[in-house]
Structure formats: structure tokens, C-alpha cells
């Protein structure tokens, strides 16, 4: 009987522990989602309700027209298109250039392979701030300032961290595949294109997702290189908006929601790749 009582006690204890853990999990979830909810809530409020104390969580009635008004005051559709153009170009550029280079380092023989790869790794350790001034000077000389070129050309010339990710992945593909293909008369190009790339889809997706995030959220690049308003991206468009319509917080929040939404939607579709990729980025340092 005493054994039975002890068993019941243990059971009650484990249920209590579970309940406690769920309470903690839900509290954490509230903390992590609260800013989003506040952003949504503010974006749907009429102007008088924004500056009311105590603040209401649920705007009654929700003022959906805030979105239309906010996104037409400044040409946000144009900023959206600009951002999309740059992001798509840069993701494709990264995929093409980094996979080529990674293939070279992972699959082709050369006396210089190791030395050059160490050089590539060491450039990853230099903080980007060291190169922004000379790069600006270079693009200024080329007459590229206030065009998309300083933002859209470099991705076609490889990005060391992505090259590193892809090279590590390519190394895990058995070399015997290459040898067999060569015996069958495959050229190096076809090994790259028809064998390695299809097998490397997960790694390529990770790179695409990271490239998308980095470019969509990029702030320093457009801030330095873009000055005419019709070439603005969403990130600097938002700061312009903030400067001009500081008092209209509802509009500002509506524009912020519109900027963040595409990322959140894509995140829910490609969660695994986001988490894997960003964990890798954390490891980079």
C-alpha cells in the first residue's frame, strides 16, 4: 500500500512538473510574440486611439485603410519592387558563384587549393567595416554610387561564408560518383551540373534562404550607396517614412508589418532551412 501511495505521489509530481513547464513555455511564447501583436494592433488603430492611455490591445473597429494610406503616401510598392529585384538577383548570384567556387575547392585537384582555401577562410574573420570605405571609394570611382550595382554585382563574385557551407557539403558526397561519371565520359562541367548540384539541394536551399534574409534585411548597403528616393529599398524607405511621418505611428507600424510579413511567410514554409542556416551563421563568428 505504501508503495502504491509513493507511486501516486510520483505521478502527481510528474503531472505538476508538466503543468509548470507548459506555463513557462506559454509565458515565453507570449514574450516572444507580444511585440508582433503590439505592432499589428497599433497598425490598425485610428490616430486618436494610438495616443490613448491606457492603450487598448484590440482596435475597435480596426482601421484597415491605414495600410492603404500608409503604403501610398510614400511609393512603398516601388521600394518593395526594388528590394525584391536586389534580393532575387543577389540570391541567384550567390547560388551560381558560390557553388562553382565550392565545387572547385571540394572536387578539383590543384596544388594551390589548400593555400587559397585558407586565404578564403581568413577573409571571413576580417570584420566588414574594414572594407566599406575602400569599397565605397572604388564604386565612387566607377560612377556606381546611387545605382543598384554596388549592391547587385558583388554577390556574383562569391561570398566566402556561403562558399564554405557549400564546400563542406560537397565534401560529404562520395568521390566515387565523380570517378564513375568520368569513366562514362562525363565532363567536369556535367559532374558539377548533373551530379553534384542535384545532390546538394539542401545546402543550396540553406544558402538561398540565408541570402534572402541578409539581402531583404540589409540596411548598411543601401544606406551608404543609394540616395535618390526612387531607388530606395524597404529598409531605408522605412527610415525615411519615420523621419517624415514621425507622429503617425499607425502608418509607421503598417509599413513595418508590410516589410516584415514576406520574411515571416517564407519562414513558415522553409522553417528547417532558416533554423539550420542561421545556426550555421551563429557558428561562423
Amino acid at each position: 500500500m505504501s508503495a502504491n501511495a509513493a507511486g501516486t505521489k510520483k505521478k502527481v509530481g510528474s503531472i505538476l512538473k508538466r503543468v509548470g513547464l507548459y506555463v513557462l513555455l506559454i509565458a515565453g511564447a507570449l514574450l516572444f510574440t507580444l511585440p508582433f501583436l503590439w505592432m499589428l494592433s497599433t497598425s490598425l488603430k485610428p490616430e486618436i486611439e494610438v495616443f490613448r492611455f491606457p492603450p487598448q490591445w484590440i482596435p475597435r473597429p480596426p482601421k484597415w485603410s491605414n495600410y492603404v494610406e500608409a503604403l501610398t503616401i510614400l511609393p512603398f510598392d516601388l521600394f518593395f519592387r526594388n528590394t525584391l529585384t536586389i534580393t532575387v538577383n543577389n540570391v541567384i548570384g550567390n547560388l551560381v558563384s558560390c557553388s562553382l567556387v565550392a565545387f572547385g575547392f571540394a572536387r578539383l585537384e590543384s596544388r594551390f587549393s589548400n593555400v587559397l582555401f585558407i586565404l578564403l577562410l581568413s577573409t571571413m574573420m576580417v570584420p566588414y567595416q574594414v572594407t566599406i570605405i575602400p569599397m565605397f571609394v572604388l564604386f565612387h570611382r566607377l560612377g556606381w554610387v546611387d545605382t543598384f550595382k554596388p549592391l547587385m554585382v558583388p554577390p556574383w563574385l562569391g561570398y566566402p561564408f556561403f562558399i564554405f557551407i557549400l564546400r563542406q557539403f560537397f565534401m560529404t558526397i562520395p568521390l566515387e560518383l565523380d570517378d564513375a561519371a568520368r569513366i562514362d565520359g562525363c565532363s567536369t562541367w556535367r559532374i558539377y551540373w548533373n551530379i553534384i548540384l542535384p545532390l546538394a539541394k539542401p545546402a543550396l536551399t540553406t544558402v538561398a534562404v540565408l541570402g534572402f534574409l541578409g539581402n531583404w534585411n540589409d540596411f548598411m548597403g543601401p544606406l551608404i550607396y543609394i540616395s535618390s528616393q526612387e531607388k530606395y529599398t524597404l529598409a531605408i524607405g522605412l527610415t525615411l517614412f519615420r523621419g517624415q511621418y514621425m507622429s503617425n505611428i499607425a502608418y509607421l507600424m503598417a509599413a513595418s508589418v508590410a516589410t516584415v510579413m514576406p520574411v515571416i511567410i517564407i519562414f513558415f514554409f522553409a522553417q528547417r532551412y532558416f533554423i539550420e542556416g542561421m545556426t550555421l551563421t551563429g557558428l561562423k563568428g
Partner: protein
């Protein structure tokens, strides 16, 4: 005609020794990066060092001034202010982020139904970092109508003026970093899942309570991962720019002026290219030293498997 010359050149390629052909192929594949290295990485690194020895507003001809920029830098109170602020931000955010990501990782490591859903939810803010989020937090910190002071008011605390207060502006920016701990959390979670279950069971058999289990099993086994998280967050935090730029513009009273912001102002607002480059090099050297120091310290407290602590 053209196809003939093409086949000729292919013929020449084929007559090259095999090792040469291999080298050629290798260089063809890595050529995008080689070009990129020369134009956007290696070249600029050297150029940056040279620029830091000049007085140059980008339109004039650069004037060589030797070490003058570095001398000025040492005597510039704003450099010291910015350095102090950057260190303040780094220490504050790294401690908060590491503790918070460890705790959430432990919570998410529990075997509970639906825990994966919470993992996604906790990770979500990390993908949205950027201007929009900085603007959102500036609004949340609004002293009169912001949600943060409202919640403090609910529990009987009169909230400070946050971003408008010299004392509270930096803590406000530090607290914000708690929201984007997603990647650190996932790295630590992976580390937790790598701890052999046999060790945990052995500790429990020996009668260890949860604290002893945490202190003598989890922490030592996790130390390489924690170390890694601390290094990378320190390096990232040292380069903070966006939040102070968007939320406070370095103010009030330079309370949130950080190194990268000061570098940006010098180079791209006041066109002092030489001085900006010198600040960039100081930043780079500090980051390098930090990395080295942390690697040294690691020897004292990081426990690697198969090694004995001395």
C-alpha cells in the same frame, strides 16, 4: 572560321600537360571568388590600411599624414566614449543573451507534446531583425504611450523615459537583444541533445538533484558550446550599428554612440575617409584581440570530451 580557331585552341589545351589542365580547370571554377577577393576583399583590406594614413575627403587628392589619424584617435574623447558604450552594450547583451538562450534551450529540450511548435515561435523574431523591428521597439519604449511603460505601470512601477534618458537608452537597446536569441538557443539546444543520456542517468542513480545535475553534468558537457556562443555573440555585439542608428542616432548626449556608428558618421556624413578607416582598423584589432583572449581563457574552463580538467 570561328569554329576552326575554337577547335585549334581546344587542341592547344589538350596538348598541355595533364597537371596544367587540371590547374586551369580549378582556377576556372574558383575564378569568381578570385576576382571577388581582389576587388572586394583582399584589395580593399590593403587599401583601407593605406587610406587610414591619409587625410582625404574623397573628392580632393589624398594627403599622406602618417600616423596622425591614429594620434588624433587616441585624443578624441568621442572615440573613448564610443568604445566605452560598445563595451557596455557587448557585456550587457552577451550576458543576457547567453543566460536567456541557455534557459530557453533547457525548456525546449523537455519531452513535451507540442514543444516543436514553441521552438518555431521562439525562433521567429530572429528572422525579422532589421529596421522595422528597431522602429517597433522605439515605439514600444515610448515613455507615455508605449506598451512597456504601460505594463510597468500595471505592476506599480513608473517607467523611465527609455530612449530619451541618458541612463536608460543603452539598457533599452540591450534588453532588445533578448528578443533575437533564436540562433544561440538552437545551438545550445543541439548541444544539450548531444549530452550522452548515460551520464545523466548515472548522476541520477548517484542521487544527484536537479541543481547538481545541472551544475556537474549539463554545464561541463555544454561548455564548448557555451564558449562558442559567447565568442560569436561578443564579436557580433561589438559591431552593433542598426539599433542605435535607427532608434537614438547615438543620443541622447552620445549615450548610445557606438564604434561602428562613429565610423559611419566620420566616413559617410563628414567624409573623413582617413579617420574613418583608422577607426575601422581599431575595431578590427579589438575584435581580433577579443577572439585571442577568449581562446586563451577557454583553456581554463572549457571541458572537452576525452580531456581531464586540470
Amino acid at each position: 572560321m570561328q569554329s576552326k580557331s575554337l577547335s585549334q585552341s581546344v587542341g592547344i589545351l589538350q596538348r598541355l600537360p595533364k597537371s596544367w589542365r587540371k590547374e586551369l580547370q580549378f582556377f576556372a571554377f574558383i575564378s569568381p571568388w578570385l576576382l571577388g577577393f581582389i576587388a572586394f576583399s583582399g584589395g580593399p583590406i590593403i587599401a583601407s590600411a593605406v587610406i587610414s594614413f591619409t587625410d582625404w575627403n574623397i573628392l580632393s587628392t589624398p594627403k599622406f599624414v602618417g600616423l596622425a589619424n591614429y594620434q588624433r584617435l587616441v585624443n578624441d574623447p568621442l572615440v573613448w566614449k564610443a568604445l566605452g558604450n560598445t563595451i557596455y552594450y557587448t557585456i550587457g547583451s552577451v550576458i543576457l543573451m547567453t543566460v536567456a538562450s541557455l534557459l530557453t534551450a533547457i525548456l525546449l529540450n523537455q519531452e513535451l507534446r507540442g514543444v516543436r511548435f514553441f521552438r518555431t515561435l521562439y525562433f521567429l523574431p530572429s528572422v525579422t531583425s532589421g529596421v522595422a523591428i528597431a522602429i517597433l521597439f522605439a515605439w514600444m519604449y515610448n515613455p507615455e504611450f508605449g506598451i512597456i511603460n504601460y505594463m510597468l505601470y500595471k505592476i506599480g512601477i513608473v517607467g523611465p523615459n527609455w530612449l530619451f534618458d541618458e541612463f536608460w537608452a543603452m539598457p533599452a537597446i540591450i534588453f532588445m537583444s533578448l528578443w533575437t536569441i533564436g540562433s544561440n538557443m538552437m545551438i545550445i539546444l543541439a548541444g544539450l541533445q548531444d549530452i550522452p543520456q548515460s551520464l545523466v542517468e548515472a548522476a541520477r542513480l548517484d542521487g544527484a538533484n536537479w541543481w547538481q545535475e545541472f551544475r556537474y553534468v549539463t554545464i561541463p558537457m555544454l561548455s564548448p558550446v557555451l564558449f562558442l556562443v559567447i565568442i560569436t555573440s561578443t564579436i557580433n555585439s561589438f559591431q552593433v550599428f542598426l539599433q542605435p542608428y535607427v532608434m537614438t542616432e547615438g543620443g541622447p548626449g552620445n549615450a548610445t554612440l557606438v564604434l561602428v556608428l562613429y565610423l559611419y558618421q566620420n566616413a559617410f556624413l563628414w567624409w573623413k575617409m582617413g579617420y574613418g578607416a583608422a577607426i575601422a582598423w581599431i575595431l578590427a584589432v579589438i575584435i581580433l584581440i577579443l577572439t585571442l583572449i577568449q581562446f586563451r581563457l577557454a583553456g581554463y574552463w572549457v571541458y572537452y570530451e576525452g580531456e581531464r580538467r586540470s
